[in-house]
Symmetry: C2
Subunit: 464 residues, 2 copies
């Protein structure tokens, strides 16, 4: 008899009511008296466990089952009985229970509250807890929502390279990728390392962004997006930084900054709506146990028109604010999280795009505005978190781009292919980057990035 997934029982209960079925799953709870017992059974396909009732008079291994350990894998045959009015909508009256894989009694995930720190140490088992089961299912659903959003709009999904020979000007510290023997690396005559003998014949690193390659693809396909891992070798031990994280980077051609923000706004709303619809049990759980205002906040965002305000206006608002900021505000500074949250939470009370930042604090590829001192950049700030998206219109004018690269001393030769894109039909284009983990934190209310990645990588930590 083929087993039925517990998700299917919850979604189509009427179909199985009164019928004999087989389920398989893991024991999340087990308590028994002399005559009957209850197993809380979870097979991983659904957030809520199935209640199994077994009776001494009905199964011949009652003694064994009443002592079965947490986490054991069992098969249960029985009849599904609807229980209207009870806490759970139905229960399975067992006629047969078989242990398929027992569990040792020292199971590290006993039924009690554990600290998040402890759970990180058992990252291979924590997805079996309520919180992490909910987090990682939502992570999966959000990833799919992102693909669905772009594919339905005929964007081409691009795998940007992970190993790169470029030095990613300004985007952050990089990890080196090498096959050289560190104890005895080949050297040049001047004593420097001879990277021509390395695997790729030159210095290579892990990518910090797929944007530049994305631009090449957008100037062929018009609309593209990347979705892949990116890396930062920064020694930041904060709740919001990981050394390895996933990014989504759409790039659109024949488009300016306003078009770019339209796509970003639509995407954020789409992701939220899709997740609320496809993970209702998990989102309810987060709202109840992780972040009490979560659902209200998300619904509010879906129903808001995102505001657009220039950096210069934002600085004026902050300077006039009756608020003691830790970092003083002056035109030209990089906005800090305290400023961003004040703007989005207290002033506008909804998501805002801040646009047209001073060119000095933004990347070389952002398009210079007519004022000569700001660039067509946009950061999306949302209540409760701050920045989740950073984007820009790209500098498509060959002479201005080259001048800017020289100004900050970039190696033009290394980027000649990128400059080529401006030589041959380099129409206006724009794009943005969304940090996937930031989005998951935002959607779940989880406050530490280590708790939204299955096996997180942070300074001094690459376990599992």
């Amino acid at each position: 008899m083929k087993d039925i997934e517990i998700r299917e029982l919850f979604r189509n209960r009427e179909e199985y009511a009164g019928k004999e079925i087989v389920v398989r799953g893991w024991v999340r709870g087990n308590r028994a008296s002399n005559q009957f017992g209850f197993i809380s059974l979870n097979d991983g396909t659904f957030f809520t466990p199935l209640q199994v009732v077994y009776e001494a008079s009905k199964i011949d291994n009652y003694e064994e089952i009443s002592k079965v350990h947490l986490a054991a894998g069992v098969m249960v045959k029985g009849v599904l009985e609807l229980t209207p009015g009870a806490q759970q909508p139905f229960e399975l009256k067992a006629t047969e229970v078989t242990v398929e894989a027992d569990s040792l009694s020292d199971y590290p995930l006993q039924k009690k509250r554990h600290t998040m720190e402890y759970l990180r140490e058992i990252a291979h088992l924590r997805p079996r807890s309520n919180t992490f089961s909910a987090v990682f299912r939502v992570r999966s659903i959000v990833a799919y929502a992102i693909h669905k959003f772009f594919q339905e709009r005929d964007y081409v999904y691009v795998h940007a390279p992970i190993i790169t020979g470029s030095d990613a000007e300004g985007a952050g510290e990089m990890f080196r990728v090498t096959t050289l023997d560190l104890s005895n690396p080949p050297t040049n005559e001047d004593g420097s390392i001879d990277y021509s003998q390395d695997f790729f014949g030159k210095e290579t690193n892990l990518t910090v962004s797929g944007q530049l390659e994305g631009e090449a693809m957008a100037l062929a396909f018009r609309n593209i997006y990347t979705f892949g891992p990116t890396f930062r070798a920064e020694n930041s031990n904060t709740a919001r930084h990981a050394s390895e994280f996933w990014m989504i980077e759409p790039e659109i051609a024949f488009a300016d900054l306003a078009d770019d923000m339209d796509v970003a706004e639509d995407m954020v709303k789409y992701i939220i709506s899709y997740t609320l619809e496809h993970a209702p049990e998990e989102m309810e759980f987060f709202n109840k146990f992780v972040d009490k205002g979560l659902l209200d906040r998300l619904h509010h965002i879906v129903n808001s028109d995102f505001e657009r305000v220039t950096y210069t206006e934002a600085v004026e608002i902050l300077k006039k604010a009756d608020k003691d900021f830790q970092f003083p505000v002056e035109w030209g500074i990089d906005l800090q999280t305290e400023h961003e949250r004040y703007l989005t939470e207290e002033v506008f009370k909804k998501p805002i795009f801040v646009i047209d930042y001073p060119k000095e604090i933004k990347a070389f590829y952002m398009r210079l505005n007519d004022d000569g001192k700001t660039v067509a950049a946009c950061d999306l700030l949302v209540p409760g978190v701050g920045e989740i998206i950073g984007g820009s219109q790209r500098e498509e004018r060959l002479d201005i781009l080259e001048a800017r690269m020289d100004e900050i001393g970039m190696n033009r030769e290394l980027y000649d292919w990128y400059v080529d894109l401006r030589r041959y039909g380099g129409v206006k284009h724009a794009g943005y980057g969304l940090g996937f983990e930031r989005m998951i934190m935002y959607l779940t209310g989880m406050s530490n990035i280590r708790d939204v990645v299955p096996f997180p990588r942070t300074p001094k930590n690459a376990e599992f």
Copy 2:
């Protein structure tokens, strides 16, 4: 006036017939007489270009447009006229043509046949050619088909870690990831490198497979899949090996090898059907210009029941074969491509799973069969390519797994978390790996892996 994507024109032509519209795109071809000219316009959203007709009597910059370079980005306003019976189904009669971004005359992608080798050198421009436009759109569609297949079946998408501290027993050579100064690395007293000072406090590498982490997730969620980049630091300069490639690794719990093969077979058929349906123009192109039997072969696969044959039977067949193999066949050898192709192409004439391989030639985690000498592994062989999927039921028995790890001298401490999965509810489970690029090669008929990756990484090559 908002521009309309060329894909939309081709898909819903009736809606636009006789209407004035605006399109934007790049010039793929331009020829003009004294009185009228034709631009072949491609905006990247559709394989087939739009034919634009412009006349000296209708636009005031006829002279300029007639000389516009290949690859220039232009805006065209005009009326769409259906042309039944003509080569193209419609054309756009221009009333206005504006150059939005010109192109230099030395455009490296002139309208002529280029060698694949040359095109690899201009990987930033080659997606603008017919072949690579088709390849990379199909790549995107296949990626989505894979997500859709698993998500519709409620599999949880898992991002396995890219940077790993494990040594991936047996799966191949790895790239080191480090932030140590190679010119002057810290050393221990005995002169060896002191990796405790490296970024993660120990030696780390790029992953060769997400399977072990996938197993942890499957034993929480029942059904999961990974889809991410994996790496091999092997100095293989073949048409089928890349240093960086993407893999899909589903893992299913409460499942054995037969279940595993069922999923693999369904997935392969789903991917093919989805691609044929969603990229008909591209698939037609491949069938015509890249691989003449392609469509027949793919349709045949969708309609076949995949055969299942044991390794032992396969060896018997090969030994009896009236065929001169380069590598002689004996029970215990690893099957070579020549053997695999003979079996799938000449004997069975359809896809076959070869199962139950000698344990010595397979990985430590594969489940030992009752005969004590083979393991529950499966390789899927397909006509025209050979192996595209490798999978197995995993060894879920604690004692047998530990004995096997000791037998081949593995570091048990490093894998203690993996062994834990057998201590706490380690039910039977199985999984497989699909090389994404191999699948794309199979679907497009492209014969070199460098030509199905946007920016390929191979020994001595990490350009762009």
